[in-house]
């Protein structure tokens, strides 16, 4: 049978000795997910500002769409992007398939719905009086929007953290458009699947431990941020 304890011990040895291959995978995972979240934030912020601050026809439909897309199975998105990026596909001329760029774009698309949904809710939760007040004080439309965004900063950060969490833990997109190429496009999740299939269980366990450490740290940050926000609100409360 599988020697789980032995695997865990060997895994810790690999982690402690700083196995370069192991940390290469960690570095790539953080890098791809990080850039993906930055990209998604750049797309997501203007969309969330429109959804949170303006009224237009079909707004609830658009919001509903983003909410629904949060749950898109990563492997379905991965398949779709694979067909799109394949040299024989519509975007094949870009030659993106099996490159880090493809993973970054794919993960950015994957996390956009969750990012937009959280950010929109945060913007909507800001007191509308702030916008009015800013304008009364002579702020332009743009300056007033930015004032609202600043008020919603906790929500904005939360949307980023949640997106990063989703990107780092997903398998389907990275596997199908990245190809799990050793040293180039393998990330924690895809490498775990590879080393499990190969029977290199100590490596798979070590990578699993690192992935969990990263995800747990992120969740601790979320909890801490929420607490800080609560304290801030209590401090501000006029009563």
């Amino acid at each position: 049978m599988v020697d789980i304890l032995g695997g865990i011990i060997e895994a810790f040895q690999l982690i402690v000795t700083g196995d370069p291959m192991l940390y290469g995978i960690v570095y790539r995972t953080l890098f791809f997910s990080g850039i993906a979240v930055i990209l998604a934030t750049l797309w997501g912020t203007p969309i969330s500002m429109l959804l949170g601050l303006r009224e237009f026809r079909g707004k609830s439909i658009v919001k509903g769409l983003f909410n629904t897309l949060i749950g898109i199975p990563t492997v379905v998105l991965g398949l779709f992007l694979f067909l799109l990026f394949s040299r024989g596909g519509p975007l094949g001329f870009l030659g993106l398939l099996y490159t880090p760029g493809a993973i970054i774009l794919g993960e950015a698309i994957l996390v956009t719905p969750i990012l937009v949904s959280i950010m929109t809710t945060a913007i909507e939760a800001v007191d509308p009086e702030i916008m009015k007040l800013a304008k009364t004080l002579g702020a332009s439309e743009s300056q007033a929007s930015i004032a609202v965004l600043k008020e919603a900063i906790n929500g904005v950060l939360l949307s980023n953290v949640a997106s990063f969490n989703r990107a780092i833990a997903e398998l389907g997109v990275a596997l199908l458009v990245g190809g799990n190429i050793t040293g180039l496009t393998d990330v924690l999740t895809t490498a775990i699947s590879r080393y499990t299939a190969r029977g290199d269980l100590d490596l798979a366990i070590a990578l699993g431990i690192l992935l969990m450490l990263i995800v747990f740290s992120i969740n601790i940050i979320i909890i801490a941020a929420r607490k800080a926000k609560m304290l801030l609100t209590i401090g501000k409360s006029p009563q």
Partner: protein, 337 residues
Amino acid sequence: MQTWQKLLIVAALATIIVIAGTLVYFNYLSKRRLIISTTTSLYDTGLLDELEKDYEAKNPSVDINIISAGTGIAIQHAKNGDADLILVHAPAQEKTFLEEGWGVNRKIIAYNFFTIVGQENDPADTQGKTTNEALRNIANYGGNITDQSGTTKIWISRGDNSGTHTKEQSLWKSAGYNYTLISAEPWFGITGSGMGDTLNVANEKLAYTLSDIGTFLKYEKDDITSEVALIDEAESLLNIYSAMAVNQTVAANQTIHEKINFEDAMDFIVYLASTETQQFIENYGKEDYGQSLFFPAVQPLVDDAPQPVVGWIEKAAFIEGSDCPAKYRVGYPDLYD
């Protein structure tokens, strides 16, 4: 201009930077990329990793990128122009592949034997039988177990169109079964995934399965599976690995296929067929497992060596009397001397 419009422009620019950065890097800054799509069995044994290291050390301007999938997707990769070279083990599919013009310069590189594995107590009585008898015994045993709810599995299939799966289908056919019908039986399990995962499931379900020897020996040695090899080294279980370069001049797909890295693909095939690499392949795994995981095929075929296995390979994997008939060759005559 409003804030959100400015932000959208920034977002568009950032997206373009990511795409352009990737393109510039892979077209101008990185080494020449050679994308190899391969079967999981070659990849999961670690042999290709070693060959990659060795080749890259000798050819520092080439970066080998290995995509590990089944034979089915490897062929799809070649058709889409997503791979430059494929390493597969399904002679019938390879023949079609050459006939349809997707690949050229096929070379039989190595062989080994599939093995039917199962629990040591061998409830269906397969040990020492021919593959046909063994499969019939398994099917009869499966049909007679009391639990026909689909929970108890007696046979686990890859079900992923890989070379191993193709082999399994032909074995069932040769034993006198219609694969579509037999695979719908409640005792017949399908994983749809790689060899390692399938071995894990077979082990878990105490079921029989067909495995390539490399993956199985590794799992056996690392005690990941408690199953044992029940039948091996029969003509019907021969497993033949070939390399094929993806055709650079596919009329229907001209613009896509002209980007294929044909030169490096062919250089790698020549490397695989070289005496030195063939020796390396034979030695791979000997120390760890006490036996070769793969046997070199190039020299025995050239010599038309007297061992029965040479005749088996010629029978199973030759196309019109050779690795690759002249009409499917593009240059590199030395490869076929």
